[in-house]
Amino acid sequence: MMKKQIWLAVSAAFILAICFTLWQTLREKYEGEATISIADAMGGNSTEGYLRASGPRKFQFPEDHGPHPGFRTEWWYYTGNLFADDGRQFGYQFTIFRNQLTPSTMKNQGVGTTSSWSSNQIYLAHFAISDVENMRHIFDERYSRGAAGLACAQVQPYKIWLEDWTIENLEENNTEFPNALSVHIKAEMEGGASINLKTRPLKPAVFQGDHGYDEKGSDEGNASYYISFTRLATEGSITIDNQNFTVRGQSWMDHEWSTSALGDNQKGWDWFSIQLSNGYDLMYYQLRNQDGSLSAFSTITLVDKEGKKIPIDVNKVDLKVLERWESPHSGESYPSEWLFSIPEVDIEFKVATLIPDQEMNVSVRYYEGAVTVQGKMAENEISGQGFIEMTGYEVE
């Protein structure tokens, strides 16, 4: 009886082998794919056809609080340090970016479009909360085309929004300071954390650089228009982990637009915004070159209690890195503690990040974190809060 079984087995094996061969040869082969980040997607480095920041200009308000189509990039930047009733501290960042994909001179190749979806504007928004007590930093990112009612920036009534992340004027049609930029900020992360804040400028707008014209490089047009509200009284609520906190504190707002900011040899920047306990506000950024040296186009602005700019020679500012922190996410090594001295006005203080990990791992990676300040100004003890932004620490 053995024979029979062998026969059956041989026939079955034979047929199976044929089926298997057929199947194998025709089986699909999986292949990899290439992905490109939003930063690359937004790319295209040609500045041709775009408007450029080429010299000081006369600002028109409220129009200049709104968008500046024709320039490639623009942002409305809110950062702040807020405290709950029990003293628990939170840092927040809320920014809406506008990016123009093609120069305004480029028309739609002769096609008359009637669709509300076509657009050359992309809006991007970043939102982060630093929960100091729990040493936690959470963030979210959104983007959308600036069309079809999904995202836009407008002046009348003042509203900068990306879907349900909004910056809206508190009092409609009020264009007079300080109410012009008293805004209501609302945003909710995918995970449920949210802010619902009202901010009111305590000082008039500061025009950074040369009357708001801020040079970033020696090339013509490598500059931006840059306006800040350095101190905004802020109150509202923060929800994190389903817990709602009533908070109050101070925020800082930047509105900046440009077509090309960094020069070819520039690698990144360190940008500080500091609100001191004595009522002074300080903005300082340094541009770092590829070779590690500092660019000549660094800027410092010290604003007194009334909002008046105190002139300082940026070359006499000294900034020493005391500590560094290596990101476990990206491997990048960021400074985390600095010694800041401005002998001209007799300021020396230490700046330290409130929690080490405040890296923004979104489509464009950077560091944006709340800092605390401790030091002296004219022999008086001062403290302060602020934010540090760092880019260009990529591991080569």
Partner: protein, 849 residues
């Protein structure tokens, strides 16, 4: 059993097969053809299905739910509402349409997306795929095609291609290529063209509208979320699980695929008969050998195993050949199947065969199973015989003659059971085929007795024509009844299958032609080119309609609108007609309520097609709920009409009523009536000239449309025709194999005749006449069986799978074809044995044993 012993047995078996190579090869071929047909049909069906799944998967991505409109598109404001107000972050707007690309003879799916919202849904359309957003969403005509299509068109990034959308020509700049993750999705994406949502809106005239909104809803808070979303949706839009949509589409082709499968099984059944014939033959031939083996002490079970082993060898070889052949055949069939699906249901591109284990396994199981099953009785018979009877030559003939009555009665009984199966209410298609099987088996059991009868009739006739040899030839058929009857029965079944399928297709065609003649009342028909031939889903330009209405020579105009609506039965085709009384009279009603036409124009009354009523089990007076722009509304079924254009059925509504319930004012087609004395051809020409700059549309005369419709009909039945051809081929092989083997087996008898003075010419005459007689007998028998099969196919299987009433139509042509097939094959089968026998030295042949 020891090894040597078994080897000896097998060697004897092997020698036998080797000494009858023709017989051996033909039986393998019989199995191979049967298996090839089944495997190829299965492969092409599963490939079409796979392609559909892949393209659905590729295009729907990870969607869990979709928001769709009750009739056509939805307002884009709903997207803002859902995304911003309802905070459904995983939402994406989608616009779907079709486009033709110049230089490529197939339809592309035009997919309009917002790449920024796409990431959770579809990788290839998302920003992550590296789409150049600046170019893509600028509002210009820019888009993406797959790399393979780009290569086929020799197009590089930045090049322009000419496309046609809804009959309008556009230039589209290719700004990138779709990168598929793997080969599977690459195939699916080869028929997709991705454009920005703004571009899609413009190309498809859908400004402010979307086709649907794709959603991914979290499973944990699903019911709550769906409730809030549903509450936020305006009338006329619904939230559906995406699977439901896919399933609806899949169900459409189910009956179609099942029918093809059943036809392939029919081919296997015929193949099985041939195998049975072959195996019986080989047993009958070896009676003496088997008898001697038994006398030498070989056991019954050993004989049984031996015969089954032979069958296994034939089965294995035939199955292998069949699977390989089936694979090649499938390459052809898949094109035909896809064509039919494109004509009937939806746009589908099948780029490659999907080789699954299942079709192959099925092929193996069927091939081996059918062979073993067919060999079982002959094998059993051989082993059961008494040794002495086996040794006697005439015993089997004596056996069958004495059992003729019993066999015939059991045949009649089996056929009756087959008939009774048909009476089972709601028996389904499977019961239909089961009944068919019983009828065939029953009929073939009655064949021997009929052969005896026919021989009696034929003997004097052939005697008159061909003298003694004619008489001898007929007599020979009866004396060897045990062998000839099996061969003739196999032939009969094979030929009858071709008759059955032929008559079915013919009946179908005649019915459709008659229906078209009555249905098409107007003189000129206007339709935008549509992706699915039988389903005009595109819209006519409104300015064009005005121009046509006012064209001199146009006396009257009727309109048709086709949309998909959601009813209580699922997604259905709704047709809104605005036509004059005469045109309405053109509708052939199967049943209607009193004063139906009066109600039809004024009230919420609809007419459903026969197929629709059948599938959804609806009757006159029943209420059909349709999701309209004014919510879910009840419509009374006032009439059931004949409609052979759609096998999923349609719901027809008066345009007046439609306008009341739907906001859509689009028109999918026009029916124009020429004024008195206006030549139709001149009018068609005039209309064509006027439409040139506005929209590319089909303008066809009544005759032209009818011809085009019939052309599509014929195209959809190409698969069936091919299957019929294959059945004919199987039948032909069967005739050859059976008759040739029969004649070879008679070598000794023929040698005796030669030795007794028969000339080679007379031998030729004798052999050819005999095979010819058998051919004629099979031909005659195949007519009633074929008609019986056609009857079951038309009135049972077609009705149960599609629900159509067909006129039964038997054309002489098909019957003649079958007869010629049987007789020609039979005569051909006689040629080789005649030649061989005539050449052979009779002394040699006699000495052989």
């Amino acid at each position: 059993m020891n090894k040597q012993h078994s080897d000896l047995l097998w060697q004897s078996s092997f020698r036998f097969l080797m000494s009858h190579p023709w017989h051996f090869v033909l039986s393998i071929l019989g199995v191979a053809l049967g298996v090839a047909v089944v495997v190829s049909i299965d492969l092409s069906n599963s490939s079409a299905q796979k392609a559909f799944e892949l393209s659905t998967e590729a295009v729907t991505g990870n969607v869990t739910h979709q928001i769709i409109g009750t009739g056509g598109g939805i307002s884009e404001g709903i997207y803002r509402e859902i995304r911003i107000k309802e905070k459904v972050r995983n939402s994406a707007p989608v616009i779907e349409g079709y486009a033709q690309v110049e230089g490529m003879n197939r339809t592309f799916q035009l997919l309009g997306v917002d790449p920024i919202a796409e990431a959770p849904f579809r990788e290839f359309t998302s920003q992550k795929a590296g789409i150049n957003l600046a170019e893509f969403m600028s509002g210009a005509n820019t888009g993406l095609i797959s790399k393979e299509v780009g290569q086929a068109l020799a197009v590089q990034t930045g090049d322009w291609v000419a496309i046609t959308v809804n009959g309008k020509k556009h230039q589209l700049k290719i700004v990138g290529f779709i990168e598929a993750r793997d080969k599977r999705s690459r195939q699916a994406l080869e028929s997709v063209m991705v454009v920005d949502i703004s571009t899609a809106q413009r190309l498809l005239d859908m400004e402010g509208e979307l086709s649907r909104i794709d959603l991914i809803l979290p499973s944990d808070s699903l019911s709550e979320k769906t409730k809030t979303i549903t509450a936020a949706l305006p009338e006329g839009t619904v939230l559906l699980r995406s699977k439901i949509r896919t399933q609806t589409v899949e169900q459409m082709t189910r009956a179609f695929e099942f029918n093809l499968q059943a036809l392939s099984m029919l081919a296997l059944l015929v193949g099985m008969f041939l195998i049975y014939n072959t195996m019986t033959f080989s047993v009958v031939q070896r009676r003496p050998v088997i008898g001697r083996l038994r006398a030498l002490g070989v056991q019954r079970s050993e004989i049984l195993v031996l015969i089954l082993k032979e069958a296994l060898l034939i089965g294995a070889l035939g199955t292998t050949a069949g699977i390989i052949g089936g694979f090649f055949l499938a390459q052809v069939l898949v094109k035909l199947v896809t064509q039919s699906i494109n004509d009937l249901y939806f746009v589908l591109n099948v780029q490659a065969l999907a080789i699954g284990f299942l079709p192959l396994f099925k092929g193996v199981a069927l091939g081996m199973g059918a062979t073993l099953l067919a060999a079982w009785w002959p094998a059993r018979e051989a082993s059961q015989q008494e040794i002495s009877t086996v040794l006697k030559r005439s015993s089997s003939e004596a056996g069958i003659t004495s059992r003729l009555g019993k066999i015939s009665i059991s045949g009649i009984l089996i056929a009756l059971v087959g008939g009774l199966i048909l009476l089972i209410p709601n028996g389904g298609i499977l019961a239909g085929y089961a009944s068919l099987l019983f009828l065939i088996v029953g009929f073939s059991l009655v064949v021997p007795v009929i052969i005896v009868g026919m021989a009696k009739l034929l003997r004097p006739v052939l005697g008159a024509i061909n003298g003694l040899i004619g008489k001898m030839a007929v007599r020979g058929v009866v004396t060897e009844l045990s062998r000839t009857s099996v061969a003739i029965a196999a032939l009969t079944v094979a030929v009858a299958a071709t008759v059955g399928v032929g008559v079915m297709v013919d009946s179908f065609r005649t019915t459709v032609v008659t229906w078209l003649e009555s249905q098409l009342q107007a003189d000129v028909y206007v339709q935008p080119p549509s992706a699915v031939s039988r389903n005009a889903d595109a819209t006519l330009d409104s300015s064009l309609i005005k121009i046509f209405e006012n064209t001199a020579g146009v006396a009257e105009m009727g309109t048709v609108r086709r949309i998909e609506v959601r009813t209580n039965n699922g997604m259905d085709n709704l047709v809104a007609v605005s036509q004059n009384k005469n045109a309405l009279q053109g509708y052939q009603l199967k049943a209607s309520t009193m004063g139906f036409w009066q109600h039809f124009g004024e009230e919420a009354v609809v007419m459903v097609s026969e197929v629709y009523a059948y599938h959804n089990e609806m009757m006159l007076g029943d209420t059909l709920f349709i999701q309209t722009d004014k919510g879910k509304q009840p419509f009374s079924i006032g009439a059931i009409n004949f409609d052979y254009a759609s096998d999923i059925g349609t719901v027809t509504m008066n345009r007046k009523v439609y306008n009341h319930f739907f906001e859509d004012r689009g028109v999918s087609g026009l029916a124009l009536y020429a004024g008195n004395g206006v030549a139709v051809d001149t009018l068609v020409h005039l209309l064509r000239e006027q439409s040139n700059d506005i929209q590319q549309v089909f303008i066809r005369s009544n005759k032209g449309l009818r011809e085009a419709s019939i052309e599509i009909f014929d195209r959809t039945f190409t698969v069936t025709t091919v299957l019929r051809m294959l059945a004919i081929l199987v039948a032909f092989m069967g005739v050859l194999s059976a008759l040739m083997a029969l004649q070879f087996e008679r070598a000794k008898e023929l040698a005796v005749l030669r030795a007794n003075g028969m000339t080679p010419a007379q031998l030729w005459n004798y052999v050819i006449t005999q095979t010819g007689v058998m051919g004629i007998m099979a031909a005659v028998l195949s007519v009633p069986l074929g008609i019986l099969m056609a009857y079951v196919l038309v009135y049972v299987i077609n009705l149960r799978s599609f629900g159509w009433t067909l006129q039964f139509m038997i054309s002489g042509e098909i019957l003649l074809q079958a007869m010629v097939l049987a007789v020609v094959a039979a005569i051909l089968a006689g040629i080789y044995p005649s030649w061989k026998m005539a050449q052979a030295n009779p002394a040699e042949a006699l000495r052989n044993e």
